[in-house]
Structures are given as C-alpha cells and as structure tokens.
C-alpha cells in the first residue's frame, strides 16, 4: 500500500500538479485521461481481464485520497468511473456486458456516468426499453454511456444507456469544475441493457452506501491538501512581527484539524464493512468542510482567489456531499444501520 501511495503521489506531482488549475478552468483533458488510463487508474476496480488494475478496496482508497489531494476534479472523475459506473456493471450486468463495456472505460476510450433522480429529483421513466424525461446535474455529462435509475410504474429499474441522450443545458458548478454537469434529456433514448428490472431505488441507495468509504477517501485527500497549505502559509506569512503559526488561536485550530485528519485517516484504512464506511463519511464530510474553511481563513484574501488553489477546497468539499449523497437519506440509512429499522422515520 505504501508503494501504491508513492506511485500515485509521483504520478500526481508529475502529471496533475502542473495542470491542476487548467483542469479547473478547461476540464479534465484527454491527455490526463490517457495518463490515468495508462496507469490503470480509470479501471482501478475492474479486474485485469477487463483491462482494469484489479485494485483491492484499500488500494482504491489510496488512489482516491491521493488524487483528490492533487486535483479533486480528477479524483471525482475516477470515483465516478469506478464506484458509480464500473462497479454496478460488474455487479448487476452479465459477463458479456462487462466484457463489452468495461475495457473501453478502463482505457479511457469511452466514459460513463450516472443519472440518479434520488439525488437530483429529476423525473426519468421507462416503458419497455424507451426512456423519457430529464435529469439535472448529471456529472461528466459528455460521457457516451449513462446508468439511469428510471421509474417504471410503481417500481424502478436500473438501465444502461449507450448514447441517445442529449444535453439540455449546463449547470452552474459549485465544485469539481473540471467536470461538466448538465441537465440531460433522455427523451427517446433506448436502454441498451436492463441491469435491474425492479427494486432499482434500493440498490442504487446501496451503491451509494457502498461507496461511502470512497467518498471519505476523497474528503480526506482534500482536507490533507487544504491543511498542508494552511500550515505552510501560516509558517511563512507574518503579521504583527510574528509568523501566523506563532499565534495560539491559529496553531490550536490547525493542530486540532491535523489531529482529526490523522485519526480519520487511520480509521479509513481499517474499514472492513459498509457500516464503517457510512460512519466515517458522516464525520469526514463535515470535517473536510471545516478544514477547508479554516485553511481559507488562514490565507485571508489570498485564499479567496482561484489561482491560490485554496478556495476550490471550500467549494469542492461541499460539492462532494451534494453530488455523492443526500443529507437526509444518508443519515436515515446510517440511523437504520446503527439503531434499527424503526429509527429516523419522522
């Protein structure tokens, strides 16, 4: 794991850092996608026979944490391809489908996304194999393929759509500006494959629950970057004839955040169940916002400008929560997991 961390770290320093700000302005480039693919990161969770890296869960967490530290947008892209696209295809699709789809994703020739009305509140329905309706805030909306949670009568299906959907309008971007978000129309699109013909909502919620540890790794990577920047700025910047780090309120605040980071990071790599991932996610999403806000505050006006690379963590940590879950349903799931099915009804 140490070795993998070193590999991803070196990769990020060489390939991502020089273009990290450009990615924010112009998007994750094909060049970055190619180098991610070359390293096997785009198909991190896919088995080797599908062109993937076949990383285990822990290795995948390392990958996400380090990528998010250097570019939250790149981390999010990899999470989207793996946790929310490749994973469900491997889990619910046939072997043939996986063989057809996954190698293209892993090689960066194709890309995928997910439209989930549980988060966006859009309305997509399916009759036979024909889809209709639109979905807001579809991430990486220029992807060729999209997993769609669609209503079918009183039930819901999870289907794969290969093309045939179109972008209606682009959405404003609080965070992960290297990705495109759009309102997407599925009017007239055809399902290429029906992964789940019923119970889609429950399974999609499970999919997000399962990815809680992945989201936590992202949150921790961003927190680490924000805190590293706060520490070095506070050691460098002077006010009132002293370095900022010499002042107790600043030192206490950063020291506490660094402590929290270390405790959470240790827990992350010991996670052995979905429940533990969900517990950590509940803590670190809030923590990462607090850490990035504190870092911005230490930087003052300088942290407020995009070029500093500080303010994006303030935006991205909030966007992480909103794009990978829903506060009330996530907390309800966690409550039921910890306290039983009767809990958190009202």
């Amino acid at each position: 794991m140490q070795l993998l961390k070193q590999v991803v770290e070196e990769f990020s320093v060489k390939e991502i850092d020089p273009v990290a700000l450009k990615i924010e302005r112009e998007g994750v480039t094909q060049g970055i996608l190619n180098s991610l693919a070359e390293k096997g990161f785009l198909g991190a969770l896919a088995p080797v026979e599908y062109g993937g890296a076949g990383l285990d869960e822990r290795g995948y967490l390392v990958l996400l944490e380090v990528l998010a530290k250097h570019s939250p947008s790149v981390g999010m892209y990899v999470l989207l391809q793996n946790s929310l696209f490749i994973s469900p295809i491997l889990r619910y699709g046939t072997k043939e489908l996986a063989q057809e789809i996954v190698p293209g994703i892993a090689s960066g020739k194709s890309s995928g996304t997910i439209a989930n009305y549980l988060l966006s509140g859009g309305k997509i329905s399916i009759e036979g194999s024909s889809l209709s309706g639109t979905s807001d805030l579809v991430p990486n909306s220029s992807a060729q393929m999209c997993l769609v949670l669609a209503k079918s009568g009183n039930d819901s299906q999870l289907v794969l759509v290969d093309g045939g959907f179109s972008i209606v309008s682009d959405s404003r971007k609080l965070g992960f500006r290297g990705l495109r978000y759009s309102t997407v129309s599925f009017e007239g699109a055809k399902a290429k494959s029906i992964l789940l013909s019923g119970g889609g909502e429950r399974e999609v919620q499970n999919l997000y629950n399962d990815s809680s540890s992945h989201v936590s790794a992202m949150a921790l990577g961003m927190s680490e970057a924000a805190l590293d920047m706060a520490v070095s700025y506070a050691k460098d910047r002077q006010a009132f004839d002293a370095h900022l780090i010499e002042f107790q309120p600043i030192a206490f605040s950063i020291a506490r955040l660094v402590s929290e980071f270390n405790v959470y990071e240790k827990y992350l790599y010991g996670i052995s169940s979905v429940k533990e991932g969900m517990m950590l996610k509940e803590l670190v999403l809030e923590f990462s916002r607090r850490a990035s806000r504190a870092s911005l505050q230490v930087h003052g006006g300088y942290g407020y400008i995009e070029d500093s690379g500080v303010e994006r963590f303030y935006r991205d940590t909030m966007a992480l929560e909103l794009l990978t879950g829903n506060r009330i349903s996530d907390m309800s799931e966690l409550s039921k997991e910890l306290l039983g099915g009767e809990s958190a009804k009202y």
């Binding site: 006010a239 505050q297 006006g301 303010e311 935006r315 909103l322």
Partner: protein
Amino acid sequence: MRLDFNLPEDVEEVKQKARKFAIEEFNDKTASRHDLEELYPYELRKKAFEAGLVRIDNPWGVLLTMEEFCRVDPGLGLSILASVFGSELLLLYGTDEQRQKYMEPVLNGSKISAVAVTEPGAGSDVAGISSKLEKSDDGFLLDGQKMFITNGTITDFFYVLARTSPPPSKEKRHHGMSVAIVDRYWPGVSVNKLKGKLGMRATDTAEIKFEGVKVPNENIIGEIGKGFYYIMTFFNISRVYVAAQSVGIAQGALDELLNYVKNSGSNEESLQFILAESASKLEAARLLTYKAASLVFQFNPDPALTSMAKYFSAEVANSVTESALEYMGQKGLLSRLERLYRDSKITEIWEGTSEIEKLVIARTLIKRAMQGDQIA
C-alpha cells in the same frame, strides 16, 4: 422604560423600497451572469441612485438597504452600495473643499470611491503597511502597493493609508500614518483587476501600484500622523455594514430553505430543526447588528459591540448558508443558495477578519475591566 424594536416609519419605508428594488432588478439570470462573468453592475448602480437608495446621510436606510440587497444577491447589492465606500472619512475628517470636490460627486452617483489600506504584506496588521508618503517641495510623493482593493479599477479616486513617518517604537507602530486622497488617473497610479474570486464576483477587486505619485498638501485628510485612528474609526462604521451584509445573506438562505420546505412539502423534523436553529441565530445576529449600528449612528460607537456584530453575523451567515445548502441537497445547488454559499465567506475576512474582531472584543473588555468600568 421601554425597549422599542420597531424601525421608524421612514426607515421601514426605505427597507420596503430596497426589498422591492432587489426583487425586481436582481433576478437570478442577471445575478448569475454578473457572478459568472465577473461583471460590475454599472446600470443597476445608476438605477439604485435614481431610486434614491444610496444615501449615507440616512445611515439606517443604507443599513437596511444593505440587508435587503444582500438578501437577494450579495454580489450585486454590495457592488452598488460600496460605490460610496470611504465617504465617512471625509464626512468626519475632511475639509469643506475636500467634501465638495470628492465626496459630493460620489454621493450623487456621478463618481465612485475606494479605500486602499490592505497591502500584499499587511492585511489584518494594518500598522504593518509599507506604502510611503514622502514630503516633497509642493506636497508628497506616494510609493507603494495595495491589494484586494474593492472598486480598484472602476474608482475615480482612492483614500490611501500610507506612512508619513516611521513608527517611533515597536509599541507605537500605529503612529506615523496618514490618509491621502489620490486620483485614479494621476501619473504613477496603475490598477490591475483581480479575477477568479470565490464569491462576490460582481464586485470589482484590484491590486494597485503607486509609483512616485505626486499628492498635493490639500489632499491629506485631517492631521498628519493620525491616519491609523481615522481608518479604525471608519472600520467601526463599515463593520456594522458588513454585519448587515451577513444578516442579509443569512436571511436570503433562510428564505430559500423556507421556500423549499413550502414547495416540497417536506416535513422531516431534521429539516425543521435546521430551520429553527437558523432562524434563531439569524434573529440574534440581527439584534446585535442593530444595537451596534444604533450606537455608531448616534456617534457613540462601542468597538467591542461593533466587532461582536461583525464577527457573530459573519459566522451566522456562513453556518446558515451551509446547513441550508446541505439540507436542500442538489435542489440547493441548482438555486441561488449556491451563490450565497460562496458569497458568505468573505464576510469573515474583509473589514477585519473574525480573528481581528475577537481581539478587539477581548482587548476592549479587558481594558474596561482594568479601568474598573462596568462591562456592558
């Protein structure tokens, strides 16, 4: 005795007028465009002046207008109201000639002013500035650099804080500074717009360079060497307006959340608690802000109270927008809450960071305790 929390009728009228103006003019399309493209709202500023909404001779009116404008869109609202930024300096310490020449055109909307205090190497630590006003034959020569200056590229002139003499000692480092009025178009003045701000993107922000700028004697405000005190007095006024910005932002976020609950029919108790907590914090911030403002507007400011209002309201603006956005989820991301969340952060930084406000509060209280005064 009776504590009356009602606004006087004329102030209530201004408030309603400001609310109406903001709702009509700051629609989401306009606000989004100015935010995305970082455009200063020249036209809206003109309209607000024509509607009589920018009048510092009616400070309560300006305070409530600030609140109502920021409630709808902080970037646009602030851009308009900050176009008279710094006028209080001349109102308090200027000569009649200075007021006539510089302040009056700003107050009637034909010119824009800016305050230039912060430098690349000195923000919170105002006395750490290094810009210099050096005596010359017929006035002063100004050299230095200023940073994060609101209205920097659109202003007609700056109120510049600079050193006229070195600090006499480490303890007295706030001595020896003066405020000069410097025309934006004088030789040696160059401005550079800063782009890519987190929030308040309709406002104009710039870095400024002064290189051997000739400043005539009559452009020095008040007494030489007292600049630090003038600026601190000014901050005591401007901070209550920042507190009002925060109150407005928090109210705007609460409006969005209430609207969401109303339209979605959500009745989850977790959401109701967020609503209750947010509304309570907001009301406390508002009362604190009005109390601090009331003392400032009676020319009897309490620096501790002003700093409490500024710090506390900023924190409330940040926490209310954060929880509203969190609980509205992607619906919030698609609404103007996304903007309010980004706009709220600056209230903890400008006109004195929250850290500086806390120092002012603590030091004022300690000083009073040492003097044996009663702590209010």
